[in-house]
């Protein structure tokens, strides 16, 4: 079963590797963006899906990663690739420091604390004008070369980032950490009683997740070549990421990625036809997912589609 899945995944990957040589710049960009979201969702899923901690403000690490790359490239003239480990490191350090006090909180409190952290960091970045340019934003060096080359470069950079994120997520799910996280998700008190060092594992999960999201931010900054606090600490990305995790299913490795592909490509193809109202459509779509597909598309319809399954959530969770 695993072999078959792996085989299919490799075919999928192979297609993605060859696609840039047949599709146009625009679709390259769409896919690059999709990989970005897929990687963010996969990374965030380690804390959200595996551990069951709704890190609503996880995009904070994205912004931090973006600014670390931005500042290192402009102020310290480092090469782009050399900055990425620092973006990851910044995420790890921040998550480790904040993890101890914040991960004691549960449910809504945790979700809100992460949002508060994101907003606080954004405001601080906004004020550190000397270092970050503040509201004026930060212009990164523009990559030299033919446009075709640059697009392929970022396409593959983001694809590699996504594959790494999936690999890390897969490994996490298979080692002791993964089992500990699952135990925490199911019943944290019981896990604690069983001798699992829950603060340690939770913090580790958050740090891994922060590292992945941070690297995504770093690549994004160089890709966009201009960042300001409001373009990288952006709340709507948090929501999109959450919707993707939910749609694809948060307890699996590839669920968030599939959710990202579905949502991003739908938005690209279908919503461009509903220009005036697509915001409303997005809102309704999210409501629809929560009402009918809270376990994710694939989990809900395992073994075939039926209307009965569509309404099972309403039956189970009605007051």
């Amino acid at each position: 079963m695993l072999i078959k899945k792996l085989f299919l995944f490799l075919i999928f990957l192979l297609i993605l590797v060859f696609l840039p040589f047949v599709i146009s710049g625009y679709w390259l960009r769409v896919l690059t963006q999709t990989f970005l979201f897929a990687a963010i969702a996969t990374g965030s899923n380690i804390i959200i899906g595996y551990t069951g901690y709704p890190a609503f403000g996880n995009i904070a690490f994205f912004g931090v990663g973006a600014y670390v790359t931005g500042v290192l490239m402009t102020k310290y003239e480092m090469g782009f690739l050399a900055t990425l480990p620092f973006s990851a490191l910044a995420g790890i350090i921040l998550a480790s420091i904040l993890g101890i006090p914040i991960l004691r909180l549960k449910g809504h409190y945790f979700a809100i604390a992460t949002v508060g952290i994101m907003e606080t960091i954004r405001e601080l970045v906004d004020n550190m004008t000397e270092l970050t340019g503040g509201g004026l934003g930060l212009t990164l060096p523009i990559m030299q070369g033919e446009p075709e080359f640059i697009y392929k470069y970022f396409y593959f950079a983001m694809l590699i980032c996504l594959v790494f994120a999936l690999l890390i997520s897969f490994v996490v799910s298979k080692i002791k950490l993964g089992y500990a996280l699952k135990a925490i998700r199911v019943d944290e008190d019981a896990a604690s009683v069983m001798g699992i060092n829950t603060p340690l594992y939770k913090t580790a999960a958050w740090a891994v997740s922060a590292a992945i999201v941070g690297v995504c931010g770093g690549i994004y900054a160089y890709w966009l070549s201009y960042i300001d606090p409001h373009t990288v600490f952006v709340g709507t990305y948090s929501v999109k990421m959450f919707a993707m995790i939910l749609l694809g299913g948060g307890t699996t490795v590839i669920g968030p990625m599939l959710g990202a592909f579905i949502l991003e490509l739908i938005s690209e193809v279908v919503w461009s036809k509903f220009i005036a109202i697509h915001g409303m459509v997005l809102g309704l779509l999210i409501i629809f997912i929560i009402l009918f597909l809270p376990k994710g598309l694939f989990e809900t319809f395992k073994g075939g589609f039926s209307f009965k399954k569509l309404f099972s959530n309403l039956r189970e969770n009605k007051l």
Binding site: Y26, Q33, G135, L136, G137, D228, T231, I275, H278
Partner: protein, 398 residues
């Protein structure tokens, strides 16, 4: 998994480009039609549409002896610059359009012009004023907005000659790219004209309360207050200045008074507030397509049942300038020739006398100064085009 792969490929196949007819010229525009810049984006679009209608009514763009109809392909960037860049990419690579009309907003123009530059497509934009757009050595971007750092210059120049002569200025600004540059320029202009800047302070973008700043300003009692921010901040500053009885001799804003909503929102409190304006409905300029600015305003009112704002006029003017450059170049496909025509462009349009420097930004256009008098926007400076005299000093709040 297999199904996902198939569905994914099917989605990719769904994309196809629009085919251009032989006797039309297709322009592309990725604008903010939804999201936080929806208002301005739609205004710019109205300007493009009116221009298109007017040109097509007259037969089209004339190249040699043949006339080509104008067609514009739109996308919505949802007020997200990165999405805008993606869509301009789509316009260029999928729809094969190389004549791009700009979006609204400095961030969006910044991101999308990088794409047009890469592909050697042309962008004429009437929707962004950041100086930063023109310091990247781009060859294919032309902008008709007077840049941010020059925004407040004309107001300060006008006030310099009033009596009693104002001596002190307080400058407050929103912490974002555009407003910070306006403030930097305002400070420089103030120093140039010999004012004493007694307060220079930023506040967070989109703030909802400025009472502390207003109280601080009151303590300094400046002759002039310059607000460099956005519409909502401007409303808050006016309301709270009145609340706390702050009475400067002049109250001026970079953004706000020039928008029709300003008077609607503030009623009589809007009286005598000064504003910088890229353009106003009453400027007496000739125009090669509409005939004159007055004719443009008339046509706009007939179509949209409201007065045009400067965003809409900027959109129409960008279209006009693009059209005239194409006509002068005598080609619709040779981008290099059209670019040369734009570089050498010098003509009076509804937006003023337009001329570009080698970085592509408009030069010598300046800003009009407007003042709210009897609930309408009156141009008070430069004197050559002024409709009425500026009220100075501003009477105290009632």
């Amino acid at each position: 998994m297999k199904k996902v792969v198939l569905a994914f490929l099917a989605l990719l196949l769904l994309s196809y480009g629009a085919k251009a007819h032989a006797d039309e010229i297709v322009f592309g525009a990725a604008l903010s039609l939804t999201g936080k810049l929806a208002k301005e984006g739609n205004l710019v679009k109205s300007g493009y549409e009116l221009w298109k209608e007017m040109v097509n009514k007259k037969g089209g763009i004339k190249i040699g002896n043949k006339k080509y109809k104008v067609n514009i392909k739109y996308y919505d960037d949802e007020s997200d610059p990165n999405r805008g860049a993606k869509l301009v990419e789509k316009l260029i690579t999928e729809d094969k359009i190389k004549l791009i009309l700009g979006p609204y907003g400095s961030e969006s123009v910044f991101a999308t012009s990088a794409i047009t530059e890469k592909y050697g497509a042309l962008m004429v934009q009437g929707g962004a004023a950041a100086d930063k757009l023109y310091t990247r050595g781009f060859k294919n971007l032309f902008g008709i907005y007077t840049v941010a750092t020059e925004y407040m210059d004309d107001i300060l120049e006008m006030l310099r000659n009033k009596s009693p002569k104002p001596a002190t200025v307080a400058i407050i600004y929103s912490n974002d790219l555009f407003s910070a540059q306006v403030a930097q320029g305002a400070k420089k202009s103030a120093e140039k004209y010999g004012y004493n800047v007694v307060l220079y302070k930023d506040y967070p973008k989109g703030t909802q309360d400025l009472s502390t700043v207003i109280v601080e300003i009151k303590g300094k009692n400046p002759d002039i207050i310059l607000g460099c921010g956005h519409f909502q901040d401007t409303i808050v500053i006016v309301k709270q200045s009145k609340d706390y009885k702050v009475n400067p001799k002049a109250l001026a804003f970079s953004v706000g008074p020039a928008l029709p909503d300003f008077v609607d929102s503030l009623k009589s409190d809007a009286e005598n507030v000064l504003g910088a304006a890229q353009w106003t409905t009453t400027l007496k300029y000739k125009d090669p397509v509409f005939g004159s600015n007055t004719e443009f305003v008339k046509a706009y009112k007939a179509k949209y049942k409201e007065d045009p704002a400067y965003h809409a006029a900027g959109g129409a003017a960008a279209g006009v300038i693009f059209q005239r450059a194409i006509e002068k170049a005598g080609t619709k496909d040779d981008i290099a020739k059209i670019r040369t025509a734009l570089s050498n462009y010098s003509e009076e349009t509804l937006y003023g006398k337009i001329k570009f420097d080698q970085t592509g930004k408009v030069v010598g256009k300046g800003m009009a100064v407007i003042q709210i008098q009897n609930r309408s926007q009156r141009t008070v400076y430069p004197e050559a085009v002024a409709e009425s005299k500026a009220v100075y000093p501003k009477p105290a709040w009632k």
